[in-house]
């Protein structure tokens, strides 16, 4: 299973939903297509085996808009608990986990 150091491999501040927000760089859309594009179909969610681990050691903060676009997008295929089983987070603090969980529970909104 692949492990990604998000802070080093992507960016340390996860804030922009898409190219229209902020400086339009390091967006959630970019993140999704870089690491999670294979999961953008119903079939991929039938198998619950872990797919990827995101290491948050070097991530400073994650915003709700980013979490919504990058992760809650998949709520049309699966449920929050299944999502957390397939996509795992390492070295992530309770605030960031809480933000991601909240977005997963509230569903994809933009």
């Amino acid at each position: 299973m692949k492990t990604v150091d998000v802070g080093k491999d992507f960016y340390f501040r996860l804030a922009n939903r898409n190219e229209l927000q902020g400086d339009g760089k390091h967006t959630a859309l970019e993140f999704r297509s870089k690491y999670l594009s294979e999961l953008d179909n119903e079939l991929a969610w039938k198998d619950m085996a872990p797919f990827i681990i995101f290491d948050f050691t070097n991530v400073k903060r994650i915003g709700p808009s980013f979490a919504n676009e990058a992760f809650a997008y998949f709520m049309k295929y699966t449920k929050p608990d299944n999502f957390m089983q397939k996509i795992q987070f390492k070295n992530i603090d309770e605030v960031d986990t809480g933000i991601i969980r909240k977005e997963l529970l509230s569903g994809y909104k933009k």
Binding site: A15, Q21, K25, G63, D93, V95, G98, G107, K109, K110
Partner: protein, 391 residues
């Protein structure tokens, strides 16, 4: 009729019925696709047209101002700011006479002013940009804005200390030695929207909160990630994307009053214009009727219903009773995140946007909301009174 013939006729009818059903389905889909294509927010042309419309709105906002003649003097007595809830109405009345002035000269008489709070400093900074931007687009000389010194020397020294005199280019008379630099995030016009600048500002607010409050690091991080970050995204979108007017941050620790005043503002087109020029404009007009023109009503509606003025906001599709959001999408919930996190942490806050205002207490209830006859802020101001201790 023979049994065989009856069966044949039934078979033909069924076939015709099925054919007709397919035709209806196809024409419905065609109509729906045409409708979606016309209003689909991700369409490049559509995005461009919204941006252009917002640019035009931004210029039009200034068209009523000529600043040709006359002199207006506004006496600001006692206190000026949103920080003290008792002064809220006073602030609105001062703000509405300041922003909407149309004379050649404006004098702010601070002679009897006992305190200028950070929210008032932010208002005065945005006023400078408001008149300069308006004059530039109307090709007129910009008016002269003056302020007198206060009898109270601490008012003058605070205006120096917070960066206001630097910002407006006024020579400071007093030193600001009595104030502590570690208690403030000074005001300046921010023109950059890159993540490094944002991160720097977020870090300085976090540092200020960590050094002065009893809130845990996790609570402060939650406030920064869900409230400050979300507000920054809003002010950048409205402040810089439209016409490059910038945005401001001013945070100040008030040890005697037990809170930190955080003010983040832009000089953008405001909530109403943003919502009514965005993808959800038609559905808002349909739902709210004439109330859609009332900035205060729209502001309260936006806080409760989570509508969005974002260029790529979701829109309802379909017809009549079947109208709804596309599967997997919903309406913006940025304001809801701000409201719920502030309620969770017990942070009172207010939002002022052009003519409208809304104010929440530390329990998340609306204490004031409405519209003024005159403009009360040049763009949108987000004001938070972060308490030193948890309630």
């Amino acid at each position: 009729m023979k049994k065989k013939n009856i069966q044949y006729l039934l078979w033909v009818n069924q076939r015709q019925f099925k054919k007709r059903k397919i035709e209806i389905h196809k024409s419905k889909a065609k109509r729906r696709n045409k409708f979606i294509k016309k209003r689909e927010p991700v369409h490049k042309e559509y995005r461009k047209s919204i941006k252009n419309e917002r640019k035009q709105i931004s210029i039009k906002l200034h068209s009523d101002y000529s600043y040709i003649s006359g002199n207006k003097k506004i006496d600001i007595d006692s206190q000026f700011g949103l920080e003290d809830s008792k002064q809220f109405d006073n602030y609105l009345s001062y703000a509405s006479s300041i922003i909407d002035f149309n004379e050649r000269e404006l004098t702010l008489n601070l002679n009897n002013c006992a305190r200028v709070w950070p929210s008032a400093v932010t208002l005065m900074c945005s006023l400078k940009e408001w008149v300069e931007f308006g004059s530039k687009y109307n090709h007129i000389k910009h008016p002269l804005i003056r302020s007198t010194d206060s009898k109270d020397s601490s008012v003058n020294s605070y205006l120096t200390h917070c960066g206001f005199y630097d910002y407006v280019g006024r020579i400071a008379n007093n030193n600001s030695g009595e104030f502590n630099d570690s208690h403030i995030v000074k005001i300046q016009r921010e023109l950059k929207k890159d993540s490094d600048t944002m991160c720097q500002k977020e870090d300085s607010i976090i540092k200020l909160l960590e050094n002065t409050t009893t809130f845990t690091k996790s609570q402060i991080k939650l406030f920064c990630s869900t409230v400050i970050l979300e507000v920054f995204q809003n002010v950048i979108e409205h402040g810089i994307t439209c016409n490059d007017q910038g945005w401001w941050v001013l945070a100040q620790y008030h040890p005697l009053h037990h809170f930190i005043s955080i003010n983040i503002a832009d000089n953008g087109i405001g909530f109403k214009n943003s919502l009514l020029s965005g993808p959800q404009s038609q559905q808002l007009k349909d739902e709210l009727g004439t109330n859609a023109e009332d900035e205060g009503y729209l502001l309260q509606y936006a806080m409760n219903e989570n509508v969005s003025g974002a260029i790529d906001a979701s829109i309802k599709e379909g017809y009549f009773f079947h109208k709804g959001y596309k599967k997997g999408s919903g309406r913006g919930n940025g304001l809801d995140r701000i409201r719920t996190t502030c309620k969770e942490l017990g942070v009172p806050f207010s939002i002022l946007s052009h003519y409208g205002y809304i104010s929440y207490n530390n329990r998340g209830s609306v204490i004031k909301s409405g519209s003024c006859k005159n403009r009360i802020f040049a763009g949108t101001l987000y004001h938070f009174n972060f308490p030193i201790k948890e309630a």
